[in-house]
């Protein structure tokens, strides 16, 4: 049998006790009084009875007070309980209990706590929503894999994989989507990542989409741990466009290599087949010259009429004509030779390394020392920054610039050559300046053209020096340019820009 709760039991006990005392004593009092047997004792009893009855009434009052208090507390407490339950269901909180007693304070405290928690909850939800939005907005496929199952995938991923819904993908084995060709690399990478617990860089993979088509992707992955344990974040980027561009570029490279081979064959054929007739023209001109000399000497001794006149007529024109033929042939041969040199330069292997350019320039100048001294020229070479280049190619380029400075000097003033250089971020820039004839700005465009000579009358040459210099510099990943000298100084200024020495970076 279950006892009633204490809060009911105690006032009931008090009530029973009060009533019991009053009723029992009243009965006692009336019996003694009526009988009148022992009035002395009865007087004493009366005082005692009065005390006990008062005690009974006090008990009753206590019980009443208890009931009253209990009723008011229970009512308000129940209200608090109901309000709290209501708030728990997510309804807007009702107004708190009035008054300033403890229960009212509890009610207000509950309400405040509820409001604060609701606000915190709202902020958390908003924050989560924001992160979710970010992940959904990322234009890459974002996946979380846990225990060999796909746990999260964003919208972009669902679209990239051509799935009907996200649910089709969640919970599946991510390996199912990796093309067999890519599987070994992916597994190897997973092993490496497990060993180091560090993110891994990009890996190109092929994925099989839900519709069976393939897509080229580039993946990065990073392991992480949360309250659910360890998981793997993988981000895939669609590289279809890049792959297409790459294959186009490869096709172009193949085509270009093919064209280059064609060009080389052409130049090779030119060197032989075009030269062969030149050997004949030159050789047989000499034969004609030789024969003509015989005719000439025969004519000089001949008494035939008109012999002297004939000799006078062809005596000058024939050697002159033969001279032109010979010069023309030699010029053509020179041009063919130039073409050949250019073509060989193109296929010569380059071996770039860190170079001490100051020594290189000084060595070139030393080899031209005699000529420089003869001309009374001055050369100044500043300490030059080191560069990363092929020594033969750079030697050729700088050598050609210095040759030109000497060749195209001005007759009006002693030649002065100044070589300087500076470093600028990842490159070094060398300057070769002279005070020679210079190049008018309107001609500066043409000077790098093959076989182009600004002053064909000046010295010998095939118009190749600057073309070769440019080819050399460009093959080393550099640039060559001609600038006008500042402040209207005479002469020209060439700059060569090259990658700077690796050790200096």
């Amino acid at each position: 049998m279950k006892l009633p709760p204490l809060r009911i039991f105690i006032p009931l006990l008090l009530l029973a006790f009060g009533f019991g005392l009053i009723v029992f004593n009243y009965k006692l009092f009336t019996r003694f009084g009526q009988d009148g047997v022992e009035t002395r004792i009865a007087a004493n009893d009366l005082a005692r009875q009065q005390f006990v009855i008062s005690l009974g009434f006090l008990g009753l009052a206590c019980a009443g007070l208890w009931f009253g208090l209990n009723w008011s507390i229970t009512r308000r407490a129940n209200r608090i309980i109901a309000d709290t339950r209501l708030m728990d269901t997510g309804q807007p909180p009702p107004p708190p209990l009035g008054g300033s007693d403890e229960l009212a304070q509890i009610s207000r405290a509950f309400r405040d706590a509820h409001l604060r928690l609701t606000e915190q909850d709202r902020v958390l939800r908003m924050r989560e929503e924001r992160y979710r939005n970010i992940i959904e907005t990322i234009p890459s496929m974002v996946c979380v894999n846990r225990n060999g199952k796909l746990e999260l995938i964003n919208d972009y991923g669902v679209r990239l994989m051509r799935a009907d819904s996200r649910e089709d993908l969640l919970g599946t084995d991510p390996f199912l989507f990796i093309h067999p060709d890519s599987l070994p690399a992916v597994k190897e990478r997973l092993r490496a990542m497990r060993a180091t617990n560090q993110p891994v860089g990009t890996l190109e993979e092929k994925l099989i989409r839900c519709d069976g088509t393939l897509v080229d992707v580039e993946a990065v992955a990073a392991p992480f741990t949360d309250d659910q344990g360890s998981a793997l974040l993988v981000i895939f980027n669609d590289i279809t466009a890049r792959k297409a561009a790459e294959s186009r570029r490869e096709a172009l490279a193949v085509e270009l290599a093919e064209k280059n081979r064609e060009l080389e064959t052409l130049i090779y054929v030119a060197s032989h087949d075009l030269r062969s007739p030149l050997v004949n023209i030159q050789g047989f001109s000499r034969m004609i010259e030789r024969d003509w000399k015989l005719i000439d000497s025969a004519l000089s001794q001949s008494d035939l009429p008109g012999a002297a006149a004939l000799r006078e007529k062809v005596g000058v024109s024939t050697p002159k004509a033969l001279g032109f033929i010979s010069a023309g042939v030699m010029r053509l041969d020179g041009l063919l030779e130039g073409l050949l040199r250019m073509s060989r330069l193109g296929r010569q292997a380059i071996q770039p390394r860190d170079l001490d350019t100051t020594t290189l320039v000084n060595d070139i100048l030393r080899s031209q020392h005699f000529q420089i001294q003869q001309l009374g020229a001055t050369t100044r070479v500043d300490p030059l920054p080191r560069c990363h280049a092929d020594p033969t190619m750079l030697n050729q380029a700088l050598g050609n610039l210095l040759d030109n400075a000497i060749k195209y000097r001005s007759p009006d003033r002693p030649l002065d050559i100044h070589v300087s250089g500076r470093r600028q971020e990842d490159v070094v820039i060398y300057e070769v300046a002279d005070n020679g004839l210079g190049i008018a700005p309107e001609h500066q465009q043409k000077i790098f053209e093959i076989f182009h000579r600004l002053n064909p009358s000046l010295g010998e040459g095939q118009g190749l020096g600057l073309t070769i210099a440019q080819r050399c510099v460009e093959r080393m990943g550099g640039r060559i340019a001609v600038l006008s000298r500042p402040d209207d100084q005479p002469g020209c200024l060439f700059t060569i820009t090259l990658p700077r020495a690796r050790q200096d970076t």
């Binding site: 060197s271 032989h272 050997v279 004949n280 030159q282 050789g283 041969d333």
Partner: protein
């Protein structure tokens, strides 16, 4: 006079002019050569293999090959390769005589076992000097013969 019979020059040259010039220059040296000219690699191979009516290769006579590289039908490189691969012919000295001075050709010919590589310059003075020196060189060089 000379104990060794005069050398026979077997020249494969597709350009008539070149052949004439070479003949002319060699004649100018006054050296006693017998020169047989072929217009392409096929003709010289036919000669070596005895498939030409009239003249044919006689193994006991000293001879030297002068080969141009670019020729119709069979080119000089191919003739050189076949000659050096054949045990009957591989002792025959082979001199390349060509207008190309491409280093790759020079290397290729030496790989195949040519005995020298002579460039025919366009400049006639240099050309005739080269041929003249070749003649003088052949004059003093001993040519292996089959006994």
């Amino acid at each position: 006079m000379r104990k060794q019979p005069s050398i026979t020059l077997l020249m494969a040259e597709d350009d008539d002019g070149h052949a004439l010039l070479v003949e002319d220059i060699l004649a100018g040296t006054g050296l006693p050569y017998r020169l047989i000219r072929f217009s392409d690699g096929q003709e010289i191979m036919d000669f070596l293999e005895g498939r030409r009516p009239g003249e044919n290769y006689e193994p006991h006579l000293p001879c030297v090959l002068l080969l141009d590289i670019r020729m119709p039908k069979v080119d000089g490189l191919e003739v050189l390769r076949r000659v050096k691969e054949n045990p009957d012919w591989r002792l025959i000295p082979v001199h390349m005589l060509t207008t190309t001075d491409d280093p790759r050709d020079v290397a290729r010919c030496h790989e195949l076992g040519c005995n020298s590589y002579i460039h025919k310059p366009v400049d006639y003075a240099k050309f005739s000097e080269s041929i003249r020196r070749l003649g003088l060189f052949l004059e003093v060089s001993k040519v292996p013969v089959r006994l």
